[in-house]
Symmetry: C2
Subunit: 246 residues, 2 copies
């Protein structure tokens, strides 16, 4: 897993095909990931059809890699399969609740990341689209997801046709705590964020957004309170429609 040291998100893909054989092998191998009660509370919907990619694109703010990637994977928290199994086996399932969503979403995300680690090790490139939970209803309708199935991750996948710089990371001490969580003082924040704030690309980011600080770019432009609150409601509504919340 040396590839993790140099990993970057890949948004441009070459014309080289991702074969079904390779994709299936990686999807199957990733299923060795730990899963609650060996139930594998996830499903993957594979999108190769350009028409389907075009229908998914708006859910991902029309980021170009959704239509340009050879493969789009939507990984879903899935308690439907287990529920149908139970209903066919004289068992009474009770998975139409919030805890079951969190359990299935956990399974789905752990599975997703093993898949990403495996794909990268083979030289494939991917981009993880966090937008999946922003407008989930478009995805649910397009992929015809039944109740108790909820999209939680989207991966665009292909052979890399770019080699972008690695993005910055905070120092280890900023996110690891010993025995108890020690909250951050102003001095901690200065120390932990100094390198990030000093990076030329981040300084440029502040300038082109007409802001005073890098944090303002995040709070005022990229992930605003208004957007977050609006999309929290949208997400809750989708969870209700999918049967995970009453």
């Amino acid at each position: 897993m040396k590839s993790i040291e140099t990993r970057r998100s890949i948004r441009k893909y070459s014309s080289r095909e991702v074969t079904d054989e390779q994709l299936d092998r990686l999807l199957e191998l990733a299923a060795r990931t730990q899963t609650m009660g060996n139930l594998q509370l996830y499903s993957v919907v594979v999108t190769r059809d350009i028409k389907m990619k075009e229908r998914l694109a708006p859910a991902h703010f029309n980021q170009p890699m959704v239509t340009s990637a050879p493969v789009v994977l939507t990984v879903c928290a899935d308690f439907n399969r287990t529920t149908v199994w139970a209903n066919n086996r004289k068992a009474t399932p009770g998975y139409d609740n919030f805890l079951s969503f969190v359990n299935a979403a956990t399974d789905a995300l752990l599975y997703t990341q093993t898949f990403c680690n495996l794909a990268e090790e083979e030289g494939l490139g991917y981009c993880f689209l966090g937008t999946t939970v922003y407008c989930p209803q478009i995805i649910i309708d397009t992929l015809k997801l039944p109740k108790l199935v909820m999209p939680v991750a989207t991966i665009t996948l292909g052979w890399p046709d770019e080699n972008p710089p690695q993005s910055d990371r905070l120092p280890l001490a900023s996110f690891v705590h010993n025995e108890t969580y020690s909250d951050y003082t102003a001095a901690d924040i200065d120390r932990f964020y100094a390198a990030k704030e000093a990076l030329p690309e981040n300084r440029n980011f502040v300038e082109i957004n007409n802001k005073e600080t890098l944090a303002q770019v995040f709070t005022d432009c990229r992930y605003t309170k208004n957007d977050n609150e609006h999309m929290s409601e949208t997400l809750m509504d989708a969870l209700k429609k999918q049967g995970f919340i009453k």
Copy 2:
């Protein structure tokens, strides 16, 4: 990442130490995982103190590996650090909402799984404790997690002192869908679950639990409707207390 092919959860650990050097190296390397806006919306609390392990154990139904593992890691969805950063940089954060919890939990779980894959590749063994979200308040109090920090994953880690059989997995066709989700017929369920239901250990599981079908072991004993509904409320309450839901 050949290790994924033979992976199993490890619950018994040898007396061999997991050094701080190794642990820190893996925790730092795992942070190469993709993260929302490079914000790294997670924190890891490292537990080595036996007294702290004993306090965490009840949250994990006193499973013995919590106290016997040399290291316990609690990975948290963390929007506190980003919020403190914003507050110190003339920015107005808006991350006290449900979408922000899901974003941070996603970051935390992807990070967790890269860490698991890296640890396993070095020969370490781990067990992922799904119990983390069942009684989160005990963990929150023990680790002194502030608002906007929520535990989502626990890993017990050490050098393996057992070599258990691999657990079963469903066939690929059962969890991969092409273009749209195709719901499961009774015949699909028979086909996909036949091998699992025929396994001697699963037949034994049915017998010792005095049940008729394997699915009933899950619905009636392991993950019951009553427990799930009760713990859904507990989880929602914890998310409210941690400031992620109003």
